[in-house]
Point group: C2
Amino acid sequence: METYKINFEPLGLSGRCRADESLLACAHRIGIGIISLCGGKGNCQSCRMQLLEGTASKPTASELKAYSRQEIKEGWRLACQSYPTSDGKVGLPPTSLTTTQRVQTEGQEVTVSPEPVVTPYQVKLSTPSLTDAQADAARLLKALNHQHRLSCDNIDIGALSQLSPKLRSWNWQCRASVREGEVIAFGPWPSRQLGLAVDLGTSKISGYLVDLDSGQTLAAQGVSNPQISYGEDIISRISYATKSAAKATQLQKLVVKAINQLASDLCAEAKAKVGDIVDAVLVGNTAMHHLLAGLPVKQLALAPFVPAVSRAIDIKASHLGLKFAPGAYLHLLPNIAAFVGADHTAVLLATLNDENKETTIAIDIGTNTEVSLIDKGKITTTSCASGPAFEGWHIKDGMRAASGAIERLRIVDNKVQYQTIDDAPAIGICGSGILDAMAQLYLAGVLGEGGKMDEKNPRVRASDKHLEFVLVGEKEKKGVRRAIVITQQDVRELQLAKAAIRTGIQVLLEANGYGDEKIQKVIIAGAFGSYIDVANAIAIGMLPALPLERFQQVGNAAGTGARLALISRSKRAAAQKIVSGIKYIELANVPGFNQTFMQASYLGRFRLKEGKRKGV
Amino acid sequence: METYKINFEPLGLSGRCRADESLLACAHRIGIGIISLCGGKGNCQSCRMQLLEGTASKPTASELKAYSRQEIKEGWRLACQSYPTSDGKVGLPPTSLTTTQRVQTEGQEVTVSPEPVVTPYQVKLSTPSLTDAQADAARLLKALNHQHRLSCDNIDIGALSQLSPKLRSWNWQCRASVREGEVIAFGPWPSRQLGLAVDLGTSKISGYLVDLDSGQTLAAQGVSNPQISYGEDIISRISYATKSAAKATQLQKLVVKAINQLASDLCAEAKAKVGDIVDAVLVGNTAMHHLLAGLPVKQLALAPFVPAVSRAIDIKASHLGLKFAPGAYLHLLPNIAAFVGADHTAVLLATLNDENKETTIAIDIGTNTEVSLIDKGKITTTSCASGPAFEGWHIKDGMRAASGAIERLRIVDNKVQYQTIDDAPAIGICGSGILDAMAQLYLAGVLGEGGKMDEKNPRVRASDKHLEFVLVGEKEKKGVRRAIVITQQDVRELQLAKAAIRTGIQVLLEANGYGDEKIQKVIIAGAFGSYIDVANAIAIGMLPALPLERFQQVGNAAGTGARLALISRSKRAAAQKIVSGIKYIELANVPGFNQTFMQASYLGRFRLKEGKRKGV
């Protein structure tokens, strides 16, 4: 039997596929996690892919149903229905990938010319003698001046403390890393300069190790934010920190330790040393930002909600206990408001560009959700407390996106089809699965518009005080140890979460006098946002009912923005400019907020009651 | 009986003196430690004083013997021979004061217009609201700009961390302390800005708390350098620090802790807070400087003896663990060479001025002695390892200048007259006493030119392996518990020490082609140097045989220089200029060094053998 070489992008993985093997089967065989809810029958449409090069079998009826004629022309196929007829290249959209696999794509390259803040210089020094015993620092600065016409007269004290022994061991030749007239690190010549970009989330810390000279991302990893033991959301974290200075310092040290470990792991992966990290950029919500920087957070949570600082700041990494190159700085991108942090700045930095003239909503869904409306170069921003329900908290069988979590779910004829992470036996349900469940239960009529569960549905049962819908029954499948359910209480939590998000969007639209239809593009950033099924999010009224092609799920755009600022000084300036131009709307200040919120809590596509708009 | 009010300067103490009470008796009664070796008989001439205002009894025969006619005209008297006949003011030269009292004079004012590097600004802020929730930092910087036309955009992260709660507790008004475009501290308005000057010696740390706005010294104190447990001199300190990074850090932390304690004690004395110390200047020899700054010291002690850094550096005090105002800097004055540190720079800064056209020797005697020859605007500098003998180390009965130490000593008819610190029973002999003993033993013929002790002298006895001269016999006086002696071995140690110092002076003279007679002024700095009897130092050949009026004992000039640099940015620039112009001579590099050293080890006035000079 003929076999063909197939490349799967953007993973960069390839394998040989027999002519009688579907591309889905081939992908699964070589370890690529493509979602397949219906088990390859062609009816769930979750294994979408695009044939970028090469040819395959003719589209089946299922595929003609799944795609428009134009899409078929562009090579869009269902992996379970396609058999190769030549070598080829397949593009997999993030939505077709399981969580594990999607994380691998997050370290994708950012495309901007490297223009780092730290410049490396090769310096060759003369050897000291009894008749020329000038100080090592003076010798180095003189050589920098003579050899590179660089009149810098400042060496970081930490870098200076390493200079004398290192110059002697490197035989009086070195790399001097210079930032704004200050020598911040030394290395042997030649040696590369590394940078670290960090997205410090309330629950997750993502790190990217970057080669500053090429701009290439060498390694990327995510770890849990260890502060989570002291409060799962921002408010409880702030409340803990304000109890005493020692508790605030404790939270700070936990994160510093985690970032140091992350840096060390990334460097191990890239076969590099943390001492070669000469620059770092960090983004996070304002509370995470303040806690890391050792800034007070009490005034963040009390009206009128004031950050200690909003503009970009540079802190010596060593001041915080971060173990990078001795004189490296940590650049913190500017915050927007007490509840819209530098992470949202980074999202805007990563997604905005001068060519974009479309009216755009950029939204980063998390325990706190930030929303911006970009229209004719002007940005209006707000934030809403969406809570941690979509991260699995306060949901009976909720869990993080980890092995065994249900991440995709469909209800057909009161039967539940689902896909778990790693295809492991189901042990719980993560954010994207929870959203799917809500939507599917609503569409199947199990949940009413108000969110009430239909107690007559055969999969609905009473447990303790509440009704619950059984997604996976006890021992229904091999390996499943206990039932996985969605309770009436879960539904209430999720209604509050989705209402908060929808209200945020609505307030921005109203502030600009717009209806949904004016939105030409919706950029959904963040881990959760990139895994959700947008159609389901529309179905429950969390996102505006717009054509699906207007939505872009851009993954960890905050991390991408942080990397852009890391490798480009222009991007840092651009970030400051973006923030300076933003009009921030405090939800608590908006008349009619409560009414909008209440309406937004109903399931189904969001419709503003007529009387309402006038009231605003 | 009539009484008169007498002011004693520079102590600023005053008291009433009866017409039948000598000024010496009056001074002692009110607690002023004037030296009196002969017990008020008028023949030891140690209680010299100058009547600056008012009148006193006619000069006695003893006084006419002690002073020239001119001096008598100028009011010079012996305190034990003078009785007041009106209110008056008395000037006490440092040499007449006991050690304890002299320390009190070290906090004397420095005379330069305050021109501090840190400027205080009063800032009044508007109160935030839901419609104006800009960050506290932005509000502050904007107000600084509007109210003082100050475009600074940088707040130290430590200062920033205090800003939000403090602004709220100070009702939105504060003092912002600004240094080179950076806000480094906040205080309530009004509040004073303090500075700390530190002279970090190998054995002693002197601290001065200064009001930066007035330039006034508020408090001064000296403490032992706690590193002394890890090596009494520079070389053993370096040797300990190079054993491991942990040991170097240990030495660093010891000094940081001591400076923090010193700062805290000084502030307690001045009823101030360490958090109001917004600037600090530190001087010390290069090894002490490097150890404090966390710089490597190994290369200091190995030929070709290279400092890690020589130019002035500014380090965030918090980086070193110094607990001043959060963003305060520590300014380290420039070093001159591996063995001529910023303390000598400070001595030069304090003693040089543009009007001084005389050929001057400036010498700072310590375990390491630095010497400079200033001639026609040019400075030649060297350093010599004089060792710790003059600080009491390696001397059998040697001790620090503390209560019960013999500090002045005379031998008359083979009887020993002496004065102890605090007039306490003698328990040992400190530097100035040791020098006196050497000279008096030599002048009395007990020591030969080569330093050999006359075993026939009745006070000389054999003990263990060595001869020793009994200064104070067992139970010779009330309270004395054991004999105090100078051993033959002590004499050898002291010969090495004084030879090193004399060689340093000699090398500089020879480098300029000068003989002793060319020196118009000798400035003797340092604690030990200000207590010595210059005539005795000349007698043993440690100092050149010049008329006594050419010598100036200026006390802790390093501390004075540090204070000058603390209160004046011009003085910092001047220090850098001084160092840039210095020609440093490495003794190890001087031909004929050993021969000069050997000749300088003889007792008696130093005479260069004729054949020698040609050899250089």
